[in-house]
Symmetry: C2
Amino acid sequence: MIQNLTEHDREHLQEALGKSGQKVTPQREAVFTVLLAQRDHPTVDEVFQRAREVMPGVSLATVYNCLETFVGCGLVRQVNHERESTRYCPNLAPHAHFRDKETGQVHDIELPPEVMKSLRSILPPGFDSEVIEISFSGRAQSKDAQAN
Amino acid sequence: MIQNLTEHDREHLQEALGKSGQKVTPQREAVFTVLLAQRDHPTVDEVFQRAREVMPGVSLATVYNCLETFVGCGLVRQVNHERESTRYCPNLAPHAHFRDKETGQVHDIELPPEVMKSLRSILPPGFDSEVIEISFSGRAQSKDAQAN
DNA sequence: TTGCGGATTAGACTCATTCTAACTGATTAG
DNA sequence: CTAATCAGTTAGAATGAGTCTAATCCGCAA
């Protein structure tokens, strides 16, 4: 079942939207709720299915719009793997992604600051990077293969 | 102008294809030639345009097939950035990619072995990764902004 | 020469994403 | 109070990279 937002999360949503001059709407709240309820890197379509459980009339276009808005104001990250459908991730801490080739599941991998630093250090002078994406792919056999 | 393959490159092509039970064909040779002639991470469409200069009758489907074959036998790498068209890269050394947001150009960034090692080390036990992709995006102002 | 199998071809198809134009509903201006 | 405005939402059409299909080609072996 999809829980409602906590007061804290609702404030987080409102603040992030407000900073870029946008408002909380019922649809945005529904989509955000869905993202926080199940942190499994859903595709747009999965978000859409889940959002309709909470708000039956919501449209796919709106789900696209909401997700884009959230990405724009830094509330969620896009996760792309090869040319598969884009997935969404509300984990804001710096992290890499690991994609299990067998199940298609995506797992977050914590990214220690010293690794981030060594990565930045390989850029030759003149290259200024705002975003670094790191993605692994392979197999995850362990028990926690469904977590995260 | 697009040069012919050197003897060395032709052998490389033949050997890699042979290892996975495939043959050198005129189309494959043309596509490979195009990739080596201009190492600028072309899209399929760009490869197609260039290949037609060398072999006017070649079809888009064949260019897709050739590129997929090359990826399959390890001759080239795919480079994906967000959901843009896939690009292709004949640089086999381990390297990251840097995408210039202004020009859309992709540059290779050398990846020292110790950085690779520190990256592998962040994977929790149970995660076995065959492939690591690292991509930066931002601005490259420098003079060599058009190279590689 | 016939047949086989891999490679190539043109064009149809798929499907994630984007676009468009109409509609809604809240807020502001007169 | 109306009317005008404007962001947000909606359904459905359009886009475009990539894939699939069925026909053809071509080198080689029986």
